[in-house]
């Protein structure tokens, strides 16, 4: 029994190591290649590690054109959008979990039902709506509309339903105002779910391409994913610069992932929803 288990483990280990290489190779290859000088990138023989390491691609990617601007735009959008997303979805989740009022199940059901209407199917009327509201070509046009996510509300409500009511009730008997209860009691108790929503929201907004594509046409307002896609759209791709830009664009999500790994896992498990 243990012998066969050991044998299975060994076979699995070999398979897993092969798959792990397949899984990581593209990322590592892009990152390593971004440190190769331009004349080495496609020269034969190719080497895994750069023969001469250089930061030249990064320097030219950052100094050329608007790249620093795109990076800052993306940081701004991802951060502000995440704060807004967490705040309004936690508020909504609280209202749906801890208050009893007529129509609350209906409201919750309708909000979850909007999962059926992803941006991909309403991008044309969304574009017109943002145009009417004067939000085209504004970073707020990619911050506000996606902030109310059904996934966020769902995660927040499911978490808060299980919070104890006694603290809320005793605070109410002591005469605390509703907002005060929310800020002083609910927010501190909801830290794990706040962390989960924060991480996912940051990642969604950082990696977002379709929203900026619809909302932003002004070069100064573009985000990094848009810039990367435009860079690929050119007739002659400057691969050295592109790889440096791609590597820079990947680093923030990797940092967030390694810092908050356990919240990633619990978020996927609890939600089973992608937004």
């Amino acid at each position: 029994m243990t012998k066969s288990r050991k044998a299975t483990n060994r076979v699995f280990l070999v398979i897993l190591i092969v798959l792990a290489i397949v899984s990581l190779f593209p990322v590592i290859w892009v990152a390593l290649s971004s440190f190769k000088p331009q004349n080495e990138l496609f020269s034969s023989p190719m080497t895994f590690f750069p023969k001469t390491w250089t930061l030249g691609n990064y320097i030219s990617a950052i100094s050329q054109g608007n790249f620093a601007r795109y990076f800052m735009n993306t940081v701004f959008v991802a951060c502000v959008s995440t704060v807004l997303t967490v705040l309004i979805n936690i508020m909504a989740g609280y209202a749906l979990a801890k208050y009893y009022f007529r129509g609350r199940n209906l409201i919750f059901g309708l909000m979850i039902a909007t999962l059926m209407v992803p941006l991909q199917v309403i991008m044309i009327p969304i574009f017109l709506q943002l145009k009417n509201l004067g939000m085209l070509n504004s970073l707020w046009g990619i911050i506000i509309p996606p902030a109310a996510t059904p996934t966020g509300i769902f995660l927040a409500r499911q978490y808060m339903v299980n919070l104890s009511n006694s603290m809320i009730e005793s605070a109410r008997i002591d005469g605390a105002k509703e907002l005060r209860i929310f800020v002083r009691i609910i927010l501190p108790l909801s830290q794990p779910i706040i962390a989960t929503i924060t991480i996912f929201s940051f990642m969604w907004r950082w990696n977002d391409y379709l929203w900026p594509l619809i909302v932003i046409t002004d070069n100064d307002k573009m985000t990094m994913q848009q810039a990367l896609a435009n860079f690929v759209g050119q007739l002659q791709i400057n691969w050295s610069n592109l790889l440096a830009m791609t590597t820079i664009s990947i680093i923030p999500v990797l940092i967030v992932f390694f810092a908050f790994q356990k919240f990633f896992m619990s978020g996927i498990t609890a939600g089973s929803v992608k937004g």
């Binding site: 792990a20 909504a92 208050y99 309403i122 574009f127 594509l213 498990t269």
Partner: protein
Amino acid sequence: MKKLKKKDERIHVRTKGNFHQTLAPMLFLAPNILIFLLFIIIPLFQGLRMAFMDWGIFTVPEFVGLKNFANLFKDEVFLITIKNTIVYSFFAVVLLTVVSLCLALMLSRNSMKGERVFRAVFYIPSLLSMIAVGIAWRFILGDEMGIVNYVLRSMGGSGVKWLTDGNLAMMCVILVSVWASSGYYMIMFISGLQAIPNELYEAATIDGSSPWNTFWRITLPLLRSTVLVVLVLATIASFKAYELIVTMTKGGPGYATKFIVQQVYQVAFQEDRMGYASAMSIVLMVIIGIFTLVQFKFAGKDGQYD
């Protein structure tokens, strides 16, 4: 979806007759409701209306009845994108489910060191934007200067037209999607597997059940709802696919890897035929809507939507 009842243990918070407490939840909900109204509900109805009209930025909208929908079925490019999307979805979903389930089975046995490290490693591709994924694989699979063709050539073979031959390009897009998303679904499978009580496996072992038998008789039946959720989520995601091909193939060669969403975007924003593109969106929405409803049905059984 289980409804919360007034008598539910969890809801002691009474709000009756207290103005402040009835108003408070509405205020907490207000920002969300406002955003949903402005950016989902109103556009949704607007989109439905536009599908029955000739609509462009520079033309006066005109009601045309079902003309847009009738034209859809004569539109060769649209029919090709529908076919491509279905082919892509079918293979991507089947492969994704099988691969992520296999990964989960290997990594949830608690009998090997490093299971957690492997989980993290397989999850990493899911962190990347599809734009970056497309760039990375285009760099790897490039005809002349990609590493794969370089290795093939240096071993005496000839280069393969990974992204410039229609069928091969579609295959690459499918495989890259599997590469990019299987870690995400793997995590869902792992949590599903961990919910299966250990006693069942112990009993099966005592009864002399082979691992193969145990998988088909115990694991898979108990994992049924997770399998369905993964199938449906992956199907919805693949019908929405767009970003990957923007950087990986640009929809080409020709129309070989062009999907519905790319066609909608092009017809609406580059050809300015927004009414016609809205009709395409409606078709897409109906497809996605059906799969989402299926998801609710099965996920609801599993209690995941409570």
